[in-house]
């Protein structure tokens, strides 16, 4: 009897309000309400009707503990809707419907105001990049030593001495990965050196587009070295687009062609160690370069030199000494300095209960 009485007293939520979800393409309305504090509460049911309609229809249920909901199914932009919410008890009883929220209309927006920080960051970085690439013209900028790169020439030379080919693996990803582009940048001077020394360079590929680009780059390098006739298109080829079939194929090349130098530069996944260990077995000198953090430990243990993370991007600037590319390294360093500074200031402020910097980096 008592329980029945209590259930009968289950209250509907109060202060129900509805508004168009900001920063979206339309078609969504946010509903909020004050929570009901009742131990017998199980959750809430949300009801909707178009203005002018008689009956409310249930659109959703949410469990207790939450007091907002985004309704994004069946909403038309420009149509007026009314929302009401009711409480549900743990044994399935219901409260009355709440007082409906004032009518609401959803519409699409033209700019995500919450993304203004991203836009600003892009603008600042863009400015830094343009400034330093322009400022770099005609000036020699400093780049620190990158261990793996210094040995690149030595590695090419060794293959020449031994009369064995060079194997260049441009990673397993496509051009949408920037690491692949960095790899193509490094392939160009390597192929040129190989052409000068008259050492064959084998480039097996996993991505069709990269195959095409690699062919062009190697051909160009041979032309630049003054030996266009020595370029063999069949040495730059598409092997397979399946990760492990590709690894199996490259393993095969390593044990049969016995390249004296293996270069693994670009984006790699789990196959990294399969490639590097097989190369180690054949006794080749190996240099790896990748920004795939998870694969770095395996390259470090199985290769002679490893170009780590961002060093890969610096590599193309380092090898070419092209002032425009070196200028971009300078811009990257400025970016790092600014971010480190903000992390310091942000920490101090946030420990003093001022979260202004923290808010600057919010992504929602």
């Amino acid at each position: 009897m008592l329980i029945l009485l209590i259930i009968g007293l289950l209250e509907p939520p109060s202060y129900v309000r509805a508004y168009d979800r900001p920063n979206d393409g339309g078609g969504a309305i946010v509903i909020e309400w004050e929570s009901v504090s009742d131990t017998l509460l199980k959750g809430y049911e949300i009801f909707r009707r178009k203005v002018g309609e008689e009956e409310f229809r249930k659109v959703a249920y949410v469990a207790r503990g939450r007091n907002s909901f985004v309704n994004s199914i069946g909403i038309k932009d420009g149509v007026k809707y009314e929302y009401a919410v009711r409480s549900v008890g743990i044994d399935g009883s219901y409260s009355d419907l709440s007082i409906p929220a004032p009518p609401v209309v959803s519409y699409p927006q033209w700019f995500k105001k919450n993304k203004i920080n991203t836009l600003l960051a892009i603008a600042i970085y863009f400015f830094l990049l343009v400034y330093f690439t322009q400022a770099a013209k005609g000036r020699e900028l400093f780049i620190r030593r990158i261990a793996g790169l210094d040995h690149l020439e030595e590695a090419v030379g060794r293959a020449t001495e031994m009369g064995k080919p060079i194997l260049y693996v441009p990673g397993l990803s496509g051009l949408s990965d920037i690491a692949t582009i960095a790899s193509i940048n490094i392939l160009s001077p390597v192929a040129k050196k190989a052409a000068e020394y008259d050492t064959p360079i084998i480039v097996p590929n996993r991505d069709p587009i990269v195959t095409m680009v690699a062919q062009e780059v190697v051909k160009e390098a041979y032309t630049e070295a003054g030996r266009p006739d020595a370029f063999k298109r069949e040495n730059v080829f598409f092997l397979s687009d399946s990760q492990f079939a590709y690894a199996a194929g490259v393993d095969g090349i390593m044990v049969r062609e016995r390249p004296a130098t293996n270069l693994f530069i670009g984006m790699f996944y789990a196959e990294s160690l399969i490639l590097a260990e097989t190369g180690n077995m054949t006794g080749a000198i190996q240099i790896a370069g990748t920004d795939a953090v998870a694969q770095l430990p395996f390259f470090i243990t199985a290769c002679d030199y490893t170009i780590m993370g961002e060093e890969l991007y610096a590599a193309s600037a380092y090898l070419s000494r092209d002032p425009k590319l070196v200028g971009s390294i300078k811009a990257q360093d400025w970016g790092k300095a600014i971010l480190m500074g903000l992390a310091f200031i942000g920490s101090i402020l946030s420990l003093l209960n001022i979260d202004v910097v923290l808010k600057m980096f919010a992504t929602i």
């Binding site: 062009e216 095969g252 360093d333 310091f344 946030s350």
Partner: protein, 212 residues
């Protein structure tokens, strides 16, 4: 012992052994499996491309679609066709159009996404808050984390000599890098060994039936 009578299981087992034979040395069995695998993967890729891309995205809308906008699909087809220029010496430069289109689009797309995922999220996770300093233990741990992030970034500082404060910081960064590489090596070991166990269970249970 219950040796499998399913011929497919036998094929799978023999191919498995052929790949493992590579661990001893390169041999015709491995070579066979390797080339078969490459061939199968190309064929598989073609079938998947046909059913998952060409049919639903190209053929169905063009052949059976009714919306007038379907003819816009002719634009990417035209751009794609330019890549066939590579088959002739004279027109091989045509390939630059589809390349520029794809690479440009991916580059533009990745800029805001990378800013948010790799920079904003990471920096806001690094900034120390009161919550992160709640207990002495948490405070020490998070301070170590903070120092780790900053010093690792300085290791990747290229335009200055690594001397003085920067040099010290970069050397500390290497310490953190090595710790991280060791940790991820260690925790990957488990998953990789599970894979081998899985294959061995296939050979010993499904194929030979030696283990129950």
């Amino acid at each position: 012992m219950h040796i499998s009578t399913n011929p497919w299981v036998w094929i799978a087992a023999i191919l498995t052994l052929a790949i493992y034979s590579f661990l001893y040395k390169d041999n015709p069995f491995y070579k066979f499996a390797e080339h078969l695998f490459m061939g199968l993967s190309i064929g598989y890729g073609a079938v998947v491309l046909w059913y998952n891309s060409i049919i639903p995205r190209l053929w169905n809308p063009l052949a059976h679609g009714t919306s007038p906008s379907r003819f816009y699909l002719l634009i990417p087809i035209a751009i794609g066709l330019l890549s066939f220029g590579i088959f002739s010496k004279k027109y091989s430069w045509l390939i630059k159009y589809p390349l520029a289109f794809s690479v440009g689009a991916y580059a533009g797309f990745s800029i805001p996404v990378t800013f948010e995922a790799s920079i904003f999220e990471q920096i806001s996770g690094t900034i120390l808050t009161k919550q992160m300093m709640a207990t002495p233990w948490l405070a020490i741990s998070n301070l170590i984390m903070f120092v780790g992030v900053i010093t690792t970034i300085t290791y990747f500082y290229f335009s200055k000599h690594h001397k003085g404060l920067l040099g010290k910081s970069a050397r500390t960064g290497i310490v953190f890098l090595m710790l991280a590489f060791g940790a991820s090596f260690g925790y990957t070991v488990m998953a990789r060994i599970s894979l081998l166990i899985g294959r061995m269970q296939f050979l010993l249970h499904d194929w030979l039936g030696i283990i129950k």
